[in-house]
């Protein structure tokens, strides 16, 4: 702390304090906002009386508007206290209508973030106290907008969006659902479980999804260790005749984390109980720390499909389970038998469609030569022979020179393949490779999640859903974000569009980057 070289000598005059009669008179103030410039603007000042008069009128209205103070009834104000060491504002009396979209509950108390509290103070909904003294707006700006909490630019954008009517909340990285998870309808599943605590949901989607979840839970092995798959293989080789195929990772990418016991539920009657149990686990998992992104190329899952049934699953390693949960090995054979193996009855139209598509497909197994192979090795030899046969009749005048044709006739099966060979530019998306950049040093960060204004009536703070956009805030004098930051931020944002709000001395402009794919030949 620098020494006080200059003593505090300048007297800063106090702001206006209204008397009782002025307070009462304030109730009869007009609520209409006058026009900013009465009528179309003039081109040049010409010193005329008319111009001067119009300017005087505009200015007078402006001073009148700025000089008005906020006057509220004590009964309609919610008392709140600023806690600087914890960095939040705690409500001392019950919250009003704003509680629907702002604030959070913790330990039974209602709390607000500093930016929300400041916005509500400016609106005249709360009275903010600090050490029992009510804060003026000037003091609140000074105390609540520090480097630790929120800077001035971020507050400007926040209040701008709130005044427009949007619901603005702080960015929660844990709420980001990756496109893959969304494809699996995982966000809908988590919501479904949260809604039906302990109750059995009749909706078919929940039912079918919960079955899938149980199957995958049963098959959840020790995760992401390449070393663990050989031991699993060894165990499995005792039980199954066919060698284990390398993992089909079909749809097993549920990031449930170490959800504990892989208890089978053979009886369907117990499904509702299971549903209830998973309920808490899912809820705790979903609300917990941000889900790590798993690298599915390194995780192997056992194949439980009908072609090479591998249903004997070992117990998971105890260090991966929570303390009070015991895992045990299981045989999911009985469960697999319950899978619906009946042939699907297609409608006539579906059958026709399938037949049409089938016409153009060649079934490898229908080839008699392939049927003659009895092992993989023989099949591979067959393929190699065929390859040699194809490549032998190559006209030397084409292939013997230094400049050879781009494609082999057998390789060019569609215009799309040809185009790929020829293309110089490759399509890339802004979020590609963003995964590796997450650990890079931080610069620009995502500040807010913004939800649309018309969703206010149905907005639930516990389950806000997918935001409309996400905001990054910067000033005009800061450099344009580089590609590294852009990729990182876009990846962090998931599938929600990202908008950059640039603030230039009170003026806010919004910019965004759009991913754009060049059109290409669709026949593939």
């Amino acid at each position: 702390m620098e020494p006080d070289s200059e003593p505090a000598t300048v007297e800063v005059p106090a702001g206006r304090v209204l008397s009782a009669s002025e307070l009462r008179a304030a109730r009869w103030r007009s609520q209409k906002l006058p026009q900013r410039s009465h009528g179309p603007k003039d081109f040049l000042p010409d010193g005329s009386e008319a111009q001067a008069e119009r300017l005087r009128l505009c200015r007078q209205e402006l001073w009148q508007l700025l000089a008005e103070e906020r006057v509220e009834r004590l009964g309609s104000l919610v008392a709140a206290e600023w806690r600087p060491e914890e960095g939040f504002v705690e409500l001392k009396s019950p919250a009003g209508k704003f509680w629907q979209t702002m604030g959070y509950s913790e330990q039974g108390r209602q709390r607000l973030h500093p930016e929300e509290a400041l916005y509500l103070l400016e609106c005249g909904s709360i009275q903010l106290f600090y050490q029992d003294l009510p804060l003026s707006i000037q003091e609140a700006y000074q105390l609540l907008l520090t480097e630790d909490t929120l800077n001035f630019l971020q507050y400007q954008v926040f209040s701008h969006l709130k005044r427009l009517g949007y619901v603005v909340r702080r960015f929660q990285p844990s709420s980001v659902v990756s496109p893959y998870e969304r494809q699996l309808n995982l966000d809908g599943y988590a919501q479904c479980l949260e809604d039906g605590t302990g109750k059995r949901k009749r909706s078919s989607s929940c039912r079918s999804v919960s079955k899938k979840a149980k199957a995958l839970q049963n098959s959840l092995p020790p995760m992401s260790e390449a070393a663990s798959s050989p031991p699993a293989c060894d165990q499995s080789s005792q039980y199954s005749e066919k060698p284990q195929e390398s993992s089909p990772r079909k749809g097993s990418g549920l990031s449930f984390q170490a959800l504990g016991s892989s208890e089978p539920c053979p009886a369907l009657a117990r499904e509702d109980v299971e549903c209830g149990q998973e309920n808490e686990k899912i809820k705790n998992g979903a609300k917990g720390a941000p889900k790590p992104r798993w690298n599915f190329e390194q995780i192997s899952f056992p194949n439980m499909a009908s072609d090479s049934r591998h249903t004997l699953l070992p117990a998971p390693a105890p260090e991966l389970l929570p303390a009070n949960v015991i895992g045990r090995g299981t045989d999911a054979e009985s469960w697999c038998q319950k899978l619906n193996q009946r042939k699907e009855k297609l409608s006539r139209r579906d059958r026709d469609q399938q037949a049409e598509v089938q016409q153009f497909r060649e079934d490898v197994n229908a080839d008699p030569e392939v049927q003659g192979c009895s092992s993989w090795r023989e099949y591979k030899e067959l393929l190699q022979r065929r390859q040699l046969q194809k490549s032998q009749p190559r006209p030397p005048h084409l292939w013997g020179q230094s400049v050879t044709p781009l494609l082999n006739p057998d390789k060019a099966d569609s215009p799309a393949a040809v185009l790929e060979h020829v293309s110089v530019l490759q399509t890339t998306h802004l979020a590609d490779g963003g995964y590796r950049l997450l650990e890079k040093s931080r610069g620009l960060e995502i500040s807010f999640d913004v939800y649309q204004a018309d969703a206010v009536a149905t907005f639930r703070k516990n389950n806000p859903g997918k935001p409309y956009v996400r905001m990054c805030i910067s000033g005009f004098d800061e450099p344009v974000p580089d590609l590294c930051s852009l990729k990182r931020l876009t990846y962090q944002s998931g599938d929600v569009p990202l908008i950059f709000a640039l603030v230039d001395h009170g003026d806010i402009s919004f910019y965004s980057f759009r991913d754009f794919t060049l059109p290409r030949d669709l026949e593939h």
């Binding site: 300048v10 009462r24 603007k41 700025l66 009275q127 050490q131 000037q138 001395h505």
Partner: protein, 365 residues
């Protein structure tokens, strides 16, 4: 002498009179960035605080119109005093408001007294003509209200008006918080409401002539915009770089400041122009009544201007109907401006650069 507090390089003005003085006398506008008390949930007009550009703050300090101070932190030593004085002031205000409210109620009642009497007489006449129908109501009404003559249905409207007019007084103060009395007195013009109104607000001259205490929840509070008590602050030297004023010595700031000062001395009004791809918007007069004519871009004297930047800035200026002004300081300290105008015709587009007396070095990037 006006005082402007500076924190983290940002200068905010919190007093409306100061804003007025700066704009009217000195031609420095700034931009309002806070919520307007009259309409805090709209964006078209904003209120205090006023944000000044760093160049504006420095100019005002240089010409001596304003003292820049570092924003003072609240002093814990003064806290006890401040708290005591606040409580005193609150109590005093409460007392005064109660008195004023009672006086207002009384005057209003006196004003309407004659009308009440008139209306009552007329009603009695009317009742004598048609009998029976409203006898019951009249009787119950007169029983219910004691002392106040507004017992009849016919006067219910008058009473309603009385309640409504002083509704801001009584409706709020008497009914206090919404939980206490379910019906607003203005909604319910029946005898029950009159009774409640009579009991709680006591407009009668007879039973109560003192001050009925105002419910605490009806007390009007001012949410102060600026700090309501004076405080001492340290003056800020804009020549020296510090935490609160990081601009001193920075070449970008010095460049912009020299241009700003030059244009201000010529009588123009300036504001920020980030949205328009420039440094300043130049108005011939107050922005309330005049459109901006120029977008000023500041370039250091030796900086080459990339041709693409020039073209894009020129096109932007054309599309928003402003002329691009390239400004740079000369070695002798004055600033030089050159206008780049692009004319657009409906059928063809061609670009015309104004003939420059000095050669501007253009290098394609």
């Amino acid at each position: 002498m006006l005082v402007v507090e500076v924190a983290n390089g940002r200068s905010l003005v919190w007093g409306a009179e100061a804003v007025q003085a700066l704009r009217e006398r000195l031609g420095v506008g700034g931009r309002t960035v806070g919520a307007l008390p009259r309409g805090p949930r709209q964006n078209s007009r904003l209120g205090l605080p006023l944000l000044l550009l760093p160049e504006e703050a420095r100019l005002l300090a240089e010409i001596g119109a304003v003292t820049l101070v570092s924003a003072p932190r609240p002093d814990p030593r003064n806290h006890g005093l401040a708290l005591a004085s606040f409580k005193r002031q609150q109590e005093q205000s409460f007392q005064e408001q109660s008195t004023l409210a009672a006086e207002a109620r009384e005057t209003r009642r006196q004003e309407l007294l004659e009308k009440i009497v008139e209306g009552q007489a007329a009603k009695k006449q009317k009742l004598e003509q048609d009998s029976g129908a409203d006898e019951g109501q009249e009787a119950s009404g007169s029983e219910a209200t004691q002392g106040s003559e507004t017992s009849d249905d016919g006067q219910a409207a008058k009473k309603q008006k009385l309640e409504q007019d002083s509704g801001a007084d009584e409706g709020q103060e008497a009914s206090g918080s919404k939980a206490t009395q379910g019906s607003e007195t203005s909604d319910d013009g029946q005898a029950s409401a009159e009774q409640e109104g009579a009991d709680s607000s006591s407009p009668q001259p007879g039973p109560s002539n003192g001050v009925t205490p105002l419910p605490r929840s009806a007390l009007l509070i001012q949410l102060a915009t600026a700090r309501p008590r004076p405080v001492k602050a340290k003056p800020l030297d804009w020549r020296v770089q510090s935490k609160d004023w990081p601009h001193a010595g920075r070449p970008a700031h010095e460049l912009r400041y020299s241009i700003y000062r030059d244009l201000w001395e010529r009588g123009f009004f300036l504001s920020a122009a980030g949205k328009f791809g420039g440094d300043f918007l130049v108005y011939p007069g107050d922005p309330l009544r005049f459109h901006a004519h120029y977008i000023a871009q500041c370039w250091a004297a030796e900086d080459p201007i990339p041709l693409q930047d020039l073209v894009s800035a020129g096109r932007l200026g054309t599309s928003v109907r402003k002329t691009l002004l390239l400004c740079s300081p000369q070695p002798d300290g004055k600033a030089k401006q050159r206008a780049v105008r692009s004319d657009v015709t409906t059928r063809r587009r061609y670009y015309k650069t104004a003939v420059l007396r000095q050669r501007v070095s253009l290098s394609p990037s």
